[in-house]
């Protein structure tokens, strides 16, 4: 019971940061989503030692552990686009997504690996 209360408090704190992020986005007309601003705020607060890890850890870890659960309803929204996906256009979109994804993976991985190798060589 105490644990549940703690977890709810932790998640509520994350929610407050989300609201602050949303507020900042509106106030300064930022194009970064409020949730990402909230995340950067939490990171800064942890790094500056203003927020202690143990104040938020239990609820935060729980959310991270079940990250995929929260986006199931949005994914189920796919159902509204059924006709659009199972068509020539759908196949085309599928191909575009797959090709783009392959390029992202290969490109980002190759750049990182090349630079990390070069760094190692320099250290030797």
């Amino acid at each position: 019971m105490v644990r549940l209360f703690r977890i709810i408090t932790h998640i509520f704190f994350l929610y407050v940061l989300l609201l602050v992020g949303n507020f900042l986005q509106e106030a300064f007309q930022l194009f970064i989503p409020g949730s990402v601003i909230g995340m950067l705020l939490l990171f800064a607060l942890l790094k500056l030692g203003i927020v202690k890890l143990r104040w938020i850890e239990e609820g935060t870890s729980l959310l991270l552990k079940h990250l995929t659960l929260f986006f199931i309803p949005v994914t189920v929204g796919f159902i509204e686009y059924f006709d659009a996906v199972f068509s020539v256009r759908g196949v085309l979109l599928l191909s575009i997504t797959i090709i783009s994804t392959a390029l992202v993976m290969g490109g980002s991985g190759a750049v990182s690996e090349y630079l990390a190798r070069r760094k190692e060589v320099q250290h030797d």
């Binding site: 959310l63 991270l64 199931i72 159902i79 575009i96 993976m105 190759a110 690996e113 630079l115």
Partner: protein
């Protein structure tokens, strides 16, 4: 009253099927048993079989959506926990993820524009390489479709994990850095889960890539949309 009951049933079924799928995925570790894919497919089939509109399901689903925002904020935790490692590998990680973010957004825009797709669709494909809650908020602020964005995110996740052995060979990615950055940048949480299965080092690098690419894409997507669209 009936709306509340429908909502509660939707929540119980979603959480219940998810809870059942997690141990199954642990035993049979394939991309198709990943809870996000398997549970969504099961719920879609249930809705189709019982002829329930998505709107009705969302009476409960919206309550689960409510936690997406806090879940994004929670991603600060792995970033904070791995900060020391991140600092040491800062240049390779940031360069790789930045390259990936640009490739993902620009090829998505370019290809869909080339084939003459409508604006809402183009804007929904843009954030496909980042984790769903961020992709959904990016799509929302670009005025694309949130649900469609979530679909592209899932396709990027599943196809990325399935293609990864081939991509590793093709691009000669043999280190945890190259593989972790590639999977985290292209296939978000699904890629990260896949990396975590190989080694914890690769998994944490992949987590960092997922978080950083979420930030970079949310910054560059609106800019590239203005330039390219």
């Amino acid at each position: 009253m009936t709306e509340i009951i429908f909502g509660i049933i939707a929540i119980i079924i979603t959480v219940g099927v998810y809870a059942a799928m997690v141990p199954i995925h642990k035993k049979i570790n394939t991309p198709f048993t990943q809870p996000i894919i398997a549970v969504s497919v099961i719920i879609i089939i249930l809705l189709l079989v019982f002829n329930i509109p998505y709107e009705t399901y969302q009476l409960g689903g919206a309550w689960i959506d409510f936690l997406m925002g806090p879940a994004v904020v929670a991603l600060a935790l792995p970033l904070y926990n791995h900060f020391e490692r991140l600092k040491k590998l800062a240049v390779p990680i940031l360069s790789g993820v930045t390259a990936g973010s640009f490739i993902g957004v620009s090829t998505g825009l370019l290809f869909t524009k080339l084939f003459g797709f409508e604006r809402e669709l183009i804007l929904s494909i843009v954030p496909k390489s980042v984790t769903t809650p961020v992709a959904v908020s990016i799509a929302e602020s670009l005025e694309g479709s949130m649900s469609l964005a979530a679909v592209f995110v899932v396709i990027a996740g599943v196809s990325g994990v399935l293609m990864s052995p081939l991509i590793f060979k093709l691009f000669k990615l043999s280190s945890p850095i190259g593989r972790g950055i590639g999977l985290g940048s292209a296939s978000h949480a699904m890629g990260t889960a896949n990396s975590m299965g190989r080694s914890e080092l690769e998994g944490s690098i992949s987590t960092i890539a997922m978080v950083i690419s979420a930030v970079i894409v949310s910054v560059i997507a609106p800019i590239l949309v203005i330039i390219m669209l």
